[in-house]
Point group: C2
Chain length 347, copies 2
């Protein structure tokens, strides 16, 4: 697999276009690239990084000769076509929630559980955006000091809900004075019955509700984190919230480590040396992560590290990353890069 | 004190105008009303609820004959003039942080610690906006099931930082496409050295930093909550975050009650019967509190009540209130109303 034939399914979406951009920008060893989307988009031309591409229809035959297929067109499409791609010899990197919790399908954040990648049987799942940035930021802490518990509240951008959600935020954003009359069609969930304004508002619902009272987004964070860390008994609870931010998810985390003698400086030290992490934590200069400044960046930004006043092993911190990049497209491309390395080293 | 001579200091500010509106709307037994502000604003006319008022200069002599003085012009002004008002016979209801943590000055949320009001020696402190809505929502739960611990992450509106912060959000909000170039002058803190855009952004700093790494806003929530509940050993930690929302603070809370057998339905039940609380919690109809819909409302809205998956006495919930009303002006006016009742019953 030295030169790779790639397909991107959902190539016209918010994440699909970023996957293509990242493949080109990072000089992924491409032999050919095929952009697939619904019949409706087939024949359409798109321009990414100065190159023109024609969209083809996503169907089983389209995967003939493909080595790696990135899926980012919704869970239904993945369920319909991923096995078809695998049957034809492709490795699928799936960015939907379709296979994430299937037991023998690896759920991979390369900085955290690269080993899981070696176990794949054709499909590799890319975790939820909010999960990726959280586990990648926690991994160096977990590795050194142990991890017992996470309580997370998220501050999520609209781009996680797709291009239409960005358009919706833009169309509402000039209505500050008439904000009480803003009408909504998309958020919190296009498939849901009710829609609420996102401009000048905060919506404590991402994805549909589970009967437990948690949303599917919250359950994803809770369950995927346990799977990626291989810690079924880790205590994790999440509250997921959508904000009028275009791109960049933020997370307010409370965590408990095993070790009771850890200091803020100890946490700083492991984060400073960690892969993909940028420590932004200096109260003297008002330095802390913010989504507007994380947009377009590959790294995960961590700051506001504080010791809990009542729990010797408790810490609070603030994590920000571009949800379309490390939260989705970049992580998928990094999985593909590692896959090529592994397969090449086997050859 | 059946008909009251009232003064409002900081009458032209975001909270000051709301105090006046609430006094008029709630038919507070006014004998006279005097609006005080800086020398710069003196002579200016403002119109509130169809009535015209002339601003006078705030100085010690202005408090002659005043029964109740509402202070909302910043901590410095309160420190300079509150004692002068008390000396002249007024009771001060102070909306700044100047006296909140002074030991013998009551810090009052009428639904929670009305008794403290009876102990006042001239000054009564109105708590921080984020504290008020949290303790009022927690009080019915605490009273029935006990309270051991709070971990809160806030989602705070710009109006908490004053009229200029609202203007700043408005002026930035049409720059979605050019959001990377937005310039900022006010937030996170006008007195701070650095300013960051608030439109399409999230700023994890409210007020200045303490050397502990917590911000003053976070310490206010932590310390004021203990004082209002009279629970110096209550475990409370806070992360306070500013969002592109005009008005309405939201809070994601994790709490632990004493009782290990409490259910979500039990929490619902005590909230349903509680003073000033509106329960909005129905996943079938996507019903939960949101700041855009809490704006202009007097109540505190609570929803998203869930049991923690790992802790029998742990719950998560979501609290929203209008930070200018229950979070500030309304609570101050409610303190004044109770004060009049108490003094009248003594007469």
């Amino acid at each position: 697999m030295s030169k790779v034939n790639v397909a991107i399914i959902g190539a016209t979406g918010a994440v699909g276009t970023k996957i293509l951009e990242k493949l080109l920008e990072r000089k992924f060893p491409l032999n050919s690239i095929k952009l697939l989307a619904s019949k409706r988009s087939a024949g359409k031309e798109i321009e990414i990084s100065g190159q023109k591409f024609t969209i083809e229809e996503a169907n089983p035959e389209a995967f003939e000769g493909i080595d790696i297929a990135f899926f980012s067109a919704g869970g239904n499409i993945s369920e319909m076509l991923a096995e078809e791609a695998v049957k034809r010899g492709a490795v699928v990197i799936d960015n939907t929630s379709a296979f994430r919790m299937v037991e023998d399908i690896p759920l991979v954040v390369p900085e955290v559980n690269l080993d899981a990648l070696r176990q794949h049987k054709g499909i590799i799942a890319n975790p939820n955006c909010s999960t990726i940035q959280m586990v990648a930021a926690l991994e160096p802490i977990r590795e050194k000091f142990g991890l017992k518990r996470i309580v997370v509240s998220t501050y999520q951008a609209v781009s996680g809900a797709g291009v239409e959600a960005i358009d919706e935020l833009e169309s509402q954003s000039d209505q500050l004075q008439s904000r009480a009359e803003i009408e909504a069609q998309i958020l919190p969930s296009a498939a849901g019955k009710k829609h609420y304004p996102i401009a000048f508002n905060v919506i404590p619902q991402i994805d549909a509700f589970d009967e437990s009272g948690y949303t599917l987004e919250e359950l994803k964070m809770m369950n995927e984190t346990k799977k990626i860390f291989g810690m079924p008994n880790l205590q994790v609870s999440a509250t997921c919230v959508r904000l009028p931010v275009v791109t960049g998810h933020s997370e307010s985390l409370y965590l408990e480590v095993e070790d009771e003698n850890v200091t803020v400086e100890d946490i700083h030290e492991v984060l400073r040396g960690a892969e993909s992490i940028v420590l932004q934590d200096d109260i003297q200069t008002q330095t802390y992560p913010m989504p507007l400044f994380a947009e377009g960046k590959d790294e995960i930004f961590v700051g506001r590290v504080r010791k809990d006043p009542d729990h010797a092993n408790g810490f609070h911190l603030w994590i920000v990353a571009d949800n379309l990049l490390k939260g989705a497209a970049l992580n998928s491309v990094q999985i593909a890069e590692r896959l090529v390395e592994i397969e090449t080293s086997i050859d």
